[in-house]
């Protein structure tokens, strides 16, 4: 166990030392803070207010200009940050436990349980994701909750596969055998001993999952099955298609830039975490 702990602190040190990774981490923290502040109603709760003329370009007064109604694009972007972060977070919160649970029991117990889980995720991944998303939104109605569940339901498969594979590798390792020798039960072995050792896979996967979810929100909003009644980056980009013809670029700009940094940050963090945590790859990248 001690060895693993040093892996984590080592990873943390590596990320902090690497300037780009550190900046990425800071970006994630800032976005999280913005999302929290918006949730608490401290900022951007007045996004609906008309602050100026329609389609005012960015200026000292309106940093990101105004939209077709004269609403502040900056406020909409900030509100969209909350929506995006919550989509990422809840997708992870649904997909990760499901993926870990099914993947680990399949890998650990093998046999019929494994067969069932593999059958289950093969089935799930055979249906095109977009049709799954559409049909889930039909079932659950429209809105954020439906988006969380739909994205969560379509994104656990990859993690499940990975976890299953890792658990299979680990279950015969010495340290697990040692626990068996001292009489540890299955669940103890699985959750107390094996899982912490493969948790880095989860972390790496989560950072990728998070940004994929943010990107998916945009597509869902374009298809009209996304967030309702509140601003989101997806809706802003959707608006932009007609706006660009009148040279109104700031809504597209605001949403794209806001999205760019957070997705980039998660991408870099994902890479950095993999470099730092995945011993198999150590030394390859640099």
């Amino acid at each position: 166990m001690r060895k693993e702990r040093s892996l984590w602190s080592d990873a943390f040190n590596r990320i902090v030392k690497d300037k780009i990774s550190l900046i990425s981490l800071i970006i994630v923290v800032i976005y999280t803070l913005i999302a929290l502040l918006v949730s608490m109603g401290v900022i951007a709760s007045d996004w609906q207010e008309i602050v100026g003329p329609e389609y005012a370009p960015p200026s000292a007064e309106y940093w990101l200009g105004t939209d077709f109604l004269g609403r502040d694009v900056l406020r909409k972007t900030l509100y969209g940050t909350k929506v995006a972060m919550s989509v990422g977070l809840f997708t992870c919160m649904i997909a990760i436990p499901v993926g870990i649970f099914l993947g680990s029991i399949a890998g650990y117990f093998g046999g019929i349980i494994d067969e069932i889980v593999v059958w289950f995720y093969t089935t799930f991944s055979s249906i095109p994701g977009i049709i799954l998303l559409i049909s889930i939104s039909f079932v659950l109605g429209k809105g954020l909750t439906a988006v969380y569940i739909a994205l969560g339901a379509t994104s656990w498969v990859h993690l499940c596969r990975l976890v299953r594979g890792e658990v299979i590798k680990h279950k015969n390792r010495d340290y697990v055998q040692a626990v068996t020798a001292i009489g540890g039960g299955h669940w103890k072995k699985l959750f107390v001993h094996i899982l912490p050792n493969i948790f880095h896979i989860v972390i790496i996967n989560a950072s990728l999952l998070f940004q994929v979810a943010i990107k998916s929100e945009v597509i869902l909003s374009y298809l009209g099955i996304g967030v309702q009644a509140v601003p989101s980056w997806g809706k802003m980009i959707d608006d932009a298609r007609s706006e660009l013809n009148n040279d109104v670029w700031w809504q597209l700009f605001g949403a794209t830039i806001a999205m760019f940094f957070i997705v980039l940050a998660f991408n870099i963090l994902g890479d950095a975490l993999r470099d730092a945590l995945d011993p198999k790859l150590k030394g390859k990248e640099s």
Binding site: I127, D238, L244, T256, L264
Partner: protein, 313 residues
Amino acid sequence: MQIFQYSLRRLLYLIPVMLGVSFLVFFLFNVVAGDPTPLLLGKNASAAQVAELREQLGLNKSFLAQYLDIVKSAFTFDFGRSWATQQQISDIISQRAWPSLTLTLPAFLISSILSILISLVVSFYRGKGLDISIRVLCIALMSISSLVYIIIGQKFLAAEWELFEISGYEEGFPYFVPYIILPVIIWVVLSLGPDIRFFRTVILDEVYQDYVRTARAKGLSEKVIFLRHVLRNAMVPMITYFVIQLPFLIMGSLLLENYFDIPGLGSEVVRAANSNDFPVLKAFSILFSVAYIVFNLITDILYAVVDPRIKLQ
């Protein structure tokens, strides 16, 4: 012989998976959602008409019977008619698959070749400036929503600078060519990021294998090692990666087809989704699953053939 048994075993595995897919499709479209009356009868249908229609469509059948209907369609490919357009679904699919392929096939070929070439170069110069800048570029490219590429591409390359057609489609070669150039370019740009990253990892996985060290120790030049050994071994995961993508090509590209008014299967999915045309969505789910599973099977068998390290259990 072993390979034959293995293939047969995998082929039989199709059955439980198709049963599962049918069940999921049934659950989503028959049990929970699915009222065709607004579509089939128009807005002013009377209650009596609704009841008649449900009877005719078999919506009053038991769930088991409805489920078996779906299972049957998975094997016969007889999906009935669209609720929205009254057309035979098999006709819809055969008419729309072609426009999709005219877009996705060239796009897929170009992006695959380009990404393999680039990833070979960057992994050859791994750790150098070129490698790092291309890696950064890939991540940056991937951090922008695909919608943004489409919007910007259409606005500037097509509308503003008039380099390409804005949107539309003409049937038959070579009439469709001008319409697919821009979508193809956007597709290529969109897939370069993830493709290069993946191939680079695959190639580097091989570079650090023992046999490469041995080869190097033998004094073979880096170029020879790269082209003769590394590439050959990296081909397996690469081919897998390609074969797995094939079913997606038939499905077309939802966003590109929709934005560029290309009458393929992707835009048909959007149309079906926007009009709750469940039989079409069901048919697509099932067809795609079959394709997906079959191509998966092919890759697995390919793997087994090319790479004897895989145990044929």
